[in-house]
Amino acid sequence: MNYIGTIGEKEVKVGVREVGVARYTVTIDGQEHQVDAHQVQSSVWSILYEDASFEVDVQGKNEEFEVLIAGDCYKFSLMNEQRKAMMRSGGKGAVGKAMVTSPMPGKVVKLLVNEGEEVKADQGVVVVEAMKMENELKSNIAGKVKEIFVKEGEVVESGAKLLLVE
């Protein structure tokens, strides 16, 4: 199976082949890696890669990954090749749209913008409180607030849609 990884600005081609029990050949931009991979606890993998042993915690949602190894967090996206191709051609409409979601369960204490308002990239748009701390959530892109899905005072789950900037 082939995937396109996006790390920062860079794209890499990633191929995965199963070559034995819990053994894989993973190709990154043409270079082959032999890997022995076992999922040992919930999201934790024990990886043996050229005899080197790694504990790897893979947190992934919607093709966006945050992978922890020895205290370093690696962020990237990984997408099936076909799906990526499809997105490139037909998915253009998505560019310039950004959903602001709550990264944690908590309470919406303040909406900083109104529907229809123009926002800059990185501008705070909503404040969510959890564990006695207020957290200002920002819009990734510049645009117009298309829709607001929550009210002030509302309690939201992790991942809940808060508002859409277009």
Binding site: M1, G5, V12, V14, V16, E18, Y24, V26, I28, H33, V35, A37, Q41, S42, S43, V44, W45, I47, Y49, F54, E55, V56, D57, V58, G60, K61, N62, E63, E64, F65, E66, V67, L68, I69, A70, G71, D72, C73, Y74, F76, L78, N80, Q82, R83, M86, M87, G91, A94, K97, A98, M99, P103, M104, P105, G106, A130, M131, K132, M133, N135
Partner: protein
């Protein structure tokens, strides 16, 4: 000794106090909010009583409820832990009225030390050095100049009604004073409708060093040496250690002496902490006194071998302090890292949620004071602390190496934690050398971190790719009609682009 103790707290500190009681053979009563029924402090107590809805203001902070449970259960004393009611003199008053012993100092000591100005005046009178300056507002520019010259530049102008950095101005030399004063006053005026300012010596490269003390009602006082807590993020301590690399034997004795004087000034009973700022020339200045058990008490326990919570309980029961000053010695070095459910890669945003897997570090020199277990749901209502990881070593080098090793063993999944942050601090050159001040994390560390290039990106991508590969195959098998074979079809994706979620 008390026949029963109620613990008016939750999480790791409630568990910590229960451990001391259990080891002393004293039954404990836990209180819990509706969201804490599964919490460790309920499971580790001898009794547990529900006290209300999740918000602390409706449960852990309600004095009437706590007192009612204590009376009904027959608890003779209450341990408040830290936070919640721990430094609330009204709670201390109430306990006294109800003839329940609050394990901590008197309401008078709490009130005195709870007010910045009263505390400053009280300890100053007892001979404790405070940051030179005024507290009362200064009327004229002439007076400002006179005092500034007296205490020596640089000085800090502060708004009397101030807070949050507004109305504050650093003045490095006399020439800057005039315009700085004008700006400070105008800022103060617009922010607080009060343009009065006062003056304090500006401490350059301040380090936060505190002295743990014990006092009993028989007039005995000891200090348990110092802790350094300069590793702070937005004025919140995150890593503490004992001893401090900058404290010499003479300084330790001098700081210990004044800390005891400060405690004596309020007839302090129990465990308390005098916080000091130390400047680059190793002058130290009283900052404030915390009239409770500190979060970071374990580092002192590890280097002295003294169980501070047990001492608190014994002192509250009227016993004398069990050790004399000359018996107290710092052996080796201890470091504590506060492990929070926060995302260090998203500006330490809180991450409550379900702990889906947990592996606690162990082995030599490692102590873990935790409030969670695998399968526990960290609630959104309280401080997101998961545990305090403490490492002891024969010297600071070994303690750092142990801490790094232990942090690398620590597995917590399901919620983001500050473990990765701590690993990076343990690897930081300045931290290892001991050259830092309270601005280190916010001003130096994050900047240096941005330059660093982590080494195992390939392994990260490889593992994620294998996970995606296996998930896709699983989905494909689940979607396939029974018996069908062949490669996974991408058809479902391409015909329903509208279903795609936006990352």
């Amino acid at each position: 000794m008390f026949k029963k103790i109620l613990i008016a707290n939750r999480g790791e500190i409630a568990v910590r106090v229960e451990r001391a009681c259990r080891e002393m053979g004293i039954p404990t009563v836990a209180v819990y909010s509706e969201v804490d029924r599964h919490a460790l402090h309920v499971r580790c107590a001898d009794e547990a009583v529900l006290i209300g809805p999740p918000p602390a203001a409706e449960s852990y902070l309600v004095i009437d409820k706590i007192i009612a449970v204590a009376k009904k259960s027959g608890a003779e004393a209450i341990h408040p832990g830290y936070g919640f009611l721990a430094e609330n003199p009204r709670f201390a008053d109430r306990c006294e009225k109800e003839k329940i012993k609050l394990i901590g100092p008197s309401a008078h000591a709490m009130r005195t030390m709870g007010s910045k100005t009263v505390a400053r005046k009280t300890v100053q009178a007892a001979g404790v050095p405070v940051v030179p300056g005024t507290i009362d507002p200064i009327a004229t520019e002439e007076e400002v100049l006179r005092i500034a010259k007296e205490i020596g530049f640089p000085v800090m102008l502060k708004a009397t009604s101030g807070g949050g950095g507004k109305g504050m101005r650093l003045v490095r030399e006399e020439g800057e004073l005039h315009s700085a004063l004008r700006m400070a006053k105008s800022e103060a005026k617009s922010a607080f409708s009060d343009d009065s300012v006062y003056l304090e010596k500006y401490i350059e490269q301040p380090r936060h060093v505190e002295i743990q003390i014990l006092g009993d009602r028989h007039g005995n006082y000891v200090h348990l040496c110092e802790r350094e807590c300069s590793i702070q993020r937005r004025h919140q301590k995150v890593i503490e250690e004992s001893p401090s690399v900058i404290v010499t034997e003479e300084m330790r004795a001098a700081m210990g002496k004044v800390a005891i004087e400060a405690a004596r000034a309020v007839k302090y009973e129990g465990a308390g902490t005098c916080e000091f700022l130390v400047d680059a020339k190793r002058n130290f200045y009283f900052l404030e006194m915390n009239t409770r058990l500190q979060v970071e008490h374990p580092v002192t326990e590890m280097v002295t071998g003294i169980d501070i919570v047990k001492e608190q309980i014994r002192i509250a029961a009227g016993e004398k302090i069990s050790i004399r000053q000359e018996e107290i010695r710092q052996t080796g070095h201890a470091i504590e890292c506060r492990v929070y459910a926060e995302d260090p890669d998203r500006n330490f945003m809180p991450c409550p949620g379900l702990v889906t897997s947990l592996r606690t570090p162990g082995g030599p020199g490692v102590r873990d004071d935790s409030g969670v277990f695998e399968g526990f749901e960290i609630p959104i209502y309280y401080d997101p602390i998961i545990s305090k990881l403490v490492a002891w070593g024969k010297d600071r080098t070994e303690a750092i190496a142990r801490m790094k090793r232990a942090l690398n063993e620590y597995v917590v999944t399901g919620v983001k934690t500050t473990i990765p942050f701590h690993i990076r601090v343990m690897n930081n050159r300045h931290f290892i050398e001991g050259s830092f001040d309270t601005n280190f994390i916010d001003k130096v560390f994050f900047k240096e971190e941005q330059e660093r290039r982590p080494a195992h990106g390939d392994v990260a991508v490889i593992t994620a790719a294998i996970q995606v590969f296996l998930e896709e195959r699983e989905r494909a098998i689940a979607q396939k009609p029974a018996g069908a074979a062949g490669p996974v079809s991408m058809w479902k994706y391409s015909t329903r682009p509208g279903m795609r979620k936006i990352g």
